[in-house]
């Protein structure tokens, strides 16, 4: 079946521009997560959505970062006024309820020049 998909796969943007990253979770997965991985680092939790509950935004690094999710489907991560330190691979994952086994998408590689 279809896995988690993300778009775009690569994004190069100028410092100060806004970017929007998209995630399509596995159908039926109620939980959705965003992580980022900077070069040479582990995955860093950003935000978690569970059904219609209020999202857990505790991992968002600054107010320039926001995310939305429409019901139990697509999610978008928006980064406003991008900075060079935002350069990373942004990974989306989904899971059934709060199961630990999260299924990851291929990621979006963001480069801020």
């Amino acid at each position: 079946g279809a896995g988690v998909s993300q778009s775009p796969s690569n994004k190069v943007t100028e410092k100060g521009k806004d970017v929007e990253l998209r995630c399509d979770p596995i159908s039926g997965h109620t939980a959705l997560y965003w992580y980022r991985q900077r070069l040479g680092q582990g995955l860093e939790f950003l935000i978690y959505f569970q059904g219609n509950s209020a999202p857990d935004k505790s991992g968002l690094p600054s107010d320039r970062f926001s995310a939305e999710r429409t019901g139990e489907s697509v999610s978008t991560l928006t980064i406003q006024r991008t900075q060079q330190e935002d350069s990373a691979v942004y990974l989306c994952a989904s899971s059934l309820l709060k199961r630990y086994e999260q299924y990851f998408g291929p990621g979006t590689r963001l480069t801020v020049t």
């Binding site: 992580y35 040479g40 582990g42 991992g59 994952a93 199961r99």
Partner: protein
């Protein structure tokens, strides 16, 4: 601060031998541990997990060992195959069911 640590950035093993990947953690509240495998340009894929009530979990060629007193876990791959060459991430959860804490990964190279 890094609560999950993988101190070996890389490991090289000959095909057929055992690969041992190590992971240490600092948070005593962690009660569920997972290993993920990642190929280039792909997202991590779940490999194997272990609950803190166990000290060993086995799945085919993959075995995870947990030593709670030492806050240490390891992944054993026997026998290692060239297709196992990837980056392996250790992850842990404190029971909240999400927000996995990941290590920085260990790049495993299995040579023929």
């Amino acid at each position: 601060d890094q609560q999950v640590k993988q101190n070996s950035p890389s490991l090289s093993v000959q095909e057929g031998r055992i690969s041992i990947l190590n992971c240490d953690y600092t948070n005593s509240m962690f009660d569920y541990f997972l290993w993920y495998k990642k190929y280039p340009a792909e997202g991590p894929t779940f490999l194997i997990s272990i609950s803190s009530i166990k000290d060993k979990n086995e799945d085919g060629r993959f075995t995870v060992f947990l030593n709670k007193s030492a806050k240490h876990l390891s992944l054993h791959i026997v026998p290692s195959q060239p297709g196992d060459s990837a980056v392996y991430f250790c992850a842990a959860s404190d029971g909240s069911g999400y927000a996995l804490n990941f290590g920085k990964g260990t790049s495993l190279l299995v040579t023929p």
